[in-house]
Symmetry: C2
Subunit: 312 residues, 2 copies
């Protein structure tokens, strides 16, 4: 298993990324190799400086970086030696089994869709995120930003993508799928959710439990909550801001602690031909470490094969 | 000034409503009368039992109640002697200056739109809610549920409705208006927000400051945040659930305390020909009291006249 990591992406790169890779490597089996995309010489030196052994890692020399504010499509095509472009190049060739980066989200999406491409049958990939549950553990919310406008058929597919992710990567048996909506009853909602409800109801690949309202997100109501990427992104950023407030106010609590993105490392792009994970721009070593472990879990669970067979 | 209040609507009615009305009456000028819609004899008895003077209130005998789960349109037409139907009847005739209820939200919306009607020029009314600001005070978020699907022109009008409300009822000078969106840049968003942005930019009746992301809602970024009613309702219920969590966890804080709907009493329906306020189903006496005081402030600020002249 070869787990690709962008060393250059993120606000604290490369230091945080190298440190996270070193931490993750200690937790991996011998057969699992982390492949580092960045300036090879500098990365080896950084690893050595951190007191670790550079030979425990593989390297792909990709010294250019796509910054946070570059135009994704242009950057990928104009910077073939960037860590993200190289990552997708090798992912497409099958020389690595997953790729993750805390860098330019748009470039990660563009790379996913135009390089490794969407799985046949999937209309559009979705970005999933973890949602902490009040009681314990996590649920899954998607889409949180890949598709600002969605069709009912897309939401119906997100339900399948999210279910398989929750079941096989997070070990939730027969995950309960809810449709993010503004009422409990089937006939409630906007045009999109009203048209989506019957599709979800008839979808025998999922365990649909009906609508989930804003107040149900953190309760034990549903394991997977499906919505369009505009709403999901608003919800995600709102929830993050609440977490930041509790931090600032010094409210320590295991539930609020689970909002910390460091706990799960990153948000996968579901529906493309390989595991791709987007890390938070401010990824710490712990976040990078967990992003690598999530990559491993996605590969080990044969997540991509399961998605392919569901959409076959 | 005659302030109409539904005595029968809400989970804790009539006790909570009567108690709230008694509290509010003590804070009103002599010229301000609270008009109570419910069973007149029972209401008078309740007021006396609570140790207050029934002659300080006006009464409209409306003994029927529209319950939370009744179909709004049917209930209003089939129950002409219900407190909500009577309230709108008198509001339309100008015999009361405002009407508020913690009862069936749908019936309040139907009454607003089909009885007192939308102000000429306003495409659709919107429900506004208070949003606590981290630093101090409140902002305004709308629409939070009246219109699950919106057109750009509607959002552009919500911006005007929200601005006038924030300025004249809450005393925020030149309120900053933000468009709830998923990025800072003008070109970001879904079809609706992308089409709405230029309208807001060119709208010289408002102080538009650009996009507001989910994370900006509680910051000092904008005073009025505009969105479609689906998104607003999801955001509102999510925020409420956070507040409930902080309560359960025993986190006391002045910011979180401002999430308590009791603090502001209710959510006005903006864009109709009279002040109408919807209270929370679980309205306590304090919430009812503040809903009455908000009614007074809406009447006193000549809010309706200001909206009319803005849409003239």
């Amino acid at each position: 298993m070869k787990i690709g990591l962008d060393v250059l992406g993120g606000d604290y790169a490369p230091g945080s990324n190298v440190e996270g890779a070193i931490q993750a490597q200690k937790l991996l089996d011998e057969a699992h190799r982390i492949v580092l995309f960045g300036d090879e010489k500098a990365t080896r030196a950084d690893i050595e400086k951190a007191g670790a052994d550079p030979s425990k890692f593989d390297y792909v020399h990709a010294p250019e970086n796509i910054s946070m504010h570059e135009h994704p499509t242009k950057a990928i095509s104009h910077k073939p030696n960037s860590s993200i472009a190289k990552g997708f190049e090798l992912l497409k060739k099958g020389e690595i089994d997953s790729f993750s980066s805390a860098g330019n989200t748009g470039a990660m999406l563009v790379g996913s869709m135009f390089s490794i491409k969407t799985i046949p049958g999937v209309i559009r990939p979705a970005i999933a995120t973890n949602v902490p549950k009040l009681k314990e553990g996590f649920g899954v919310l998607l889409d949180v930003g890949a598709n600002a406008d969605c069709k009912p058929e897309m939401l119906n597919q997100f339900a399948i993508l999210g279910s398989i992710y929750a079941e096989h990567v997070y070990g939730i048996a027969s995950p309960r799928v809810g449709l993010l909506n503004i009422g409990e009853e089937e006939e409630k909602g906007n045009n999109l959710t009203i048209a989506t409800y019957p599709l979800l109801k008839e979808n025998n690949k999922i365990n649909f439990i009906g609508n989930a309202e804003g107040r149900d997100l953190f309760s034990d109501h549903a394991d997977v909550v499906v919505c369009d990427g505009y709403t999901g992104n608003v919800v995600l950023k709102l929830a993050e801001s609440f977490y930041v407030v509790t931090l600032k106010k010094g409210f320590e609590d295991s539930f609020f602690a689970r909002f910390n993105y460091e706990q799960y490392g990153g948000s996968p792009i579901l529906g493309v031909n390989a595991p791709v994970i987007i890390g938070h721009g401010i990824s710490t070593p712990k976040a990078i470490r967990n992003m690598i472990l999530l990559s491993r879990d996605m590969i080990a669970s044969k997540f991509i094969e399961r998605i392919k067979s569901a959409f076959n």
